[in-house]
């Protein structure tokens, strides 16, 4: 009788999962307090962490100065800040300078434009991050044909314009206008071509369409000159949009380029292409980004015919792309090499042509393998864009420095750098989180 009485309770105790608090307690005991040494380490670290956290909260919030009085001339009176320096942060500098830091010397009243651009970029990242959106749209032959024709028309058109420019400059009259009719026709083709291309790509591949349209919108917002927006030359751009433009285009163009280079480097059938790719990678990897930027900004114009002026931002962009492509190519090559030979052989045996094999079998697997180092490189380049400072472009970091050159605020660099760091961390952390999620998602379906 007594056994039957005690039995139910004991089985229940065994089958029911232990309550949460005991589990957390058990985890703590097993990982943080499992021996005298680890208990001592845990307590010591806890003490250090709590102390520094308290000190930071004290500095950043409790003793912080959030605003300062301004003189009649609009000069900030930072005496309060100087008085608490060391004990409290002076966030007033951020309140005073945030628009300068974020948007640079973009005309003050027009700064809503770069603000929208920043949000467009963020929206673009978010859309691209959702893999559902990458599906194909309607890709019938006529629509593809239309898209290709439109792209070709625009390109040929641009080439013609360039040709006219070059010829004009060669005959020594750089400012000659082409005949009005010709220029009107060309302009018309150019514009129509662009719109048709945008619409067609959106139908074929919505995501690509979204990119093309968003980038066009960003271009219009930044440069202006159309739709009643005042024109703002590149020299006035600065801050976050510059950083985002350089990083986004840099990565978006360098990545596909790097895949081609990596494939070229592994090519066995085309030794010349292979050598070119090896040369490219080794050459670019062998020099610091600063010198590539310098080359692009100083040497590149020397090679162009006079009268053709490729602007500073574009030159920096090209340098960043070339540089990133070399590094990414090596990462991609690592993935290609890690792929078992059997995969290529199976694709060959099925009769897949080179590009089918590459696009359907090799790259999807190879790129999955290298997501962590790829994202590592992306993050690196996001931050490296700050080097464009040396060729006179004002990215986010540079604008922070410029903000600090204002005499009343010179002493408060910590506050500015913390703010900049938070902005950089937000973007980089988003990338890293996304890559981890992507990896997990891809691995859940594909267990080797």
């Amino acid at each position: 009788m007594s056994t039957t009485l005690s039995n139910p309770s004991s089985t229940q105790a065994q089958s029911a999962p232990p309550p949460f608090t005991t589990r957390a307690g058990a985890w703590l005991k097993a990982n943080l307090f499992n021996s005298w040494l680890s208990t001592a380490t845990t307590l010591a670290l806890l003490y250090v962490i709590v102390r520094s956290l308290l000190a930071f909260v004290d500095w950043a919030f409790i003793h912080a100065v959030w605003s300062v009085p301004y003189s009649a001339q609009g000069i900030a009176d930072t005496t309060v800040c100087h008085n608490v320096k060391g004990d409290g942060a002076c966030w007033a500098i951020i309140a005073d300078k945030y628009r300068l830091i974020l948007f640079g010397r973009f005309p003050y009243d027009e700064q809503w434009r770069p603000a929208i651009v920043v949000f467009l970029f963020i929206g673009l990242y978010v859309c691209s991050a959702i893999r559902k959106f990458w599906g194909k749209g309607i890709a019938t032959k006529p629509i593809i044909l239309v898209a290709v024709m439109a792209a070709l028309a625009t390109l040929v058109d641009d080439a013609l314009f360039l040709l006219i420019d070059i010829v004009a400059s060669l005959v020594g009259r750089p400012y000659t206008q082409p005949p009005a009719v010709l220029s009107a026709v060309l302009g018309y083709i150019d514009l129509t071509g662009r719109y048709v291309f945008m619409v067609a790509t959106t139908i074929i591949w919505p995501m690509v369409g979204v990119w093309v349209i968003t980038l066009a919108a960003i271009g219009v917002l930044m440069s202006g000159g159309v739709f009643g927006l005042s024109a703002v030359p590149v020299d006035y751009w600065g801050g976050l949009p510059i950083t985002l433009i350089l990083a986004t285009f840099g990565i978006a163009i360098a990545f596909p380029l790097s895949i081609l280079i990596a494939l070229g480097r592994r090519s066995t059938k085309m030794p010349a292409v292979k050598m070119l790719c090896v040369l490219y990678v080794e050459l670019i990897r062998g020099v610091p980004l600063i010198s590539v930027l310098f080359m692009a900004s100083v040497m590149f114009p020397l090679f162009m015919p006079p009268g053709i002026n490729v602007d500073k931002l574009l030159r920096a962009q090209i340098a960043v792309i070339l540089f990133a492509a070399a590094y990414l190519a090596e990462v991609v090559r690592g993935g290609l090499q890690a792929l078992p030979k059997g995969q290529t052989e199976a694709a060959d045996a099925l009769g897949l042509a080179y590009w089918q094999k590459t696009g359907l079998i090799i790259l999807p697997q190879a790129l999955r393998l290298v997501i962590p180092p790829l994202v590592n490189t992306f993050i690196g380049f996001f931050k490296d864009t700050s080097l464009v400072l040396i060729i006179g472009l004002f990215d986010l970091l540079t604008m922070g420095k410029i903000a600090l050159s204002d005499p009343p605020w010179q002493a408060f660099s910590t506050e500015v750098y913390i703010t900049l760091a938070i902005i950089y961390i937000m973007f980089c952390y988003a990338m890293s989180r996304y890559s981890r999620g992507l990896e997990r998602e891809l691995n859940s379906t594909q267990q080797r």
């Binding site: 995969q343 052989e345 199976a346 045996a349 099925l350 009769g351 897949l352 359907l360 999955r368 594909q446």
Partner: protein
């Protein structure tokens, strides 16, 4: 029949009795660096014939059948498949690879695609078949290898035997005229070998031209029209399975058989 050896004239005689030759290897030589892996290989395989290739490890069996769909290229001699000579010409390569299916020892399924996608990939991209038709075709072959219910899974979620059967279905979806097998059961646990061999036997009975590198003597006895024994890059002896296994003519084959029997 009991006189048949590896001599070319006798091979030709057999061919006439069975139908036209679909694979012809004529004095094929191949080197890996200085290693002479194929030495004067001459072999003619006719339509609907089932050939089993055996021999010790490193004797060049894989290299020989991989030359048939040009996963490896030979350096001397001629190889004709369906009357087309294998050269570096890409066009001829394409036509041959469509006609020749291959099953590998390590399955080589595409791990990032589902079973169904593995099977429909080549019909869609190489044969330009509409997706719906390709899926229907794939399902019919998956049913034939008895795993239609796994169609939506990924290769990593299947057992080795199931994966190898998918690999067979994948090759069959291209409707090849010839199937090459390179030790299809060597990477499998004993209990899975049978299910793959059964699939291959069914295929053989349907009249497929097959070249199998395998050490499964039971399979060879049951389905092979001819067994080819290779050693050190040469075809040492060939003939119908009962004669090869019961009265081997050459010392090398005798030695090989005794080793195999001891191993089993």
């Amino acid at each position: 029949m009991n006189q048949i050896t590896a001599d070319a004239p006798m091979d030709t005689l057999r061919d006439i009795s069975r139908g036209k030759p679909v694979i012809v290897l004529d004095k094929v030589n191949k080197w890996f660096g200085s290693l002479h892996v194929l030495r004067d290989i001459s072999l003619s395989i006719s339509e609907r014939e089932r050939v089993v290739v055996c021999g010790p490890s490193g004797s060049g069996k894989s290299t020989m059948i991989r030359c048939i769909n040009r996963l490896e290229s030979h350096q001397e001699g001629r190889i004709l498949v369906e009357g087309t000579e294998l050269t570096d010409d890409l066009r001829s390569l394409d036509t041959i690879r469509r006609e020749v299916g291959m099953v590998f020892q390590s399955f080589n399924l595409f791990p990032h695609l589902t079973i169904l996608e593995n099977c429909t990939l080549a019909p869609i991209w190489v044969r330009k078949m509409p997706r719906a038709a390709a899926e229907e075709l794939a399902m019919s072959y998956l049913e034939r290898v008895k795993i239609p219910e796994q169609a939506k899974k990924y290769p990593g979620q299947l057992s080795g035997g199931q994966q190898q059967r998918v690999a067979i279905a994948r090759a069959l979806c291209m409707k090849p005229k010839i199937m090459l097998f390179d030790e299809p059961t060597s990477a499998l646990d004993p209990e899975m070998i049978k299910e793959v061999l059964d699939t291959m036997i069914t295929l053989a009975e349907s009249g497929m031209t097959m070249v199998c590198v395998t050490h499964e003597m039971g399979f060879a006895r049951q389905v092979a029209d001819r067994v080819v024994f290779m050693d050190r890059g040469e075809i040492v002896e060939s003939g119908p399975p009962h004669r090869m296994f019961e009265s081997p003519q050459t010392e090398r084959l005798q030695l090989f058989l005794s080793q195999i029997l001891r191993g089993h």
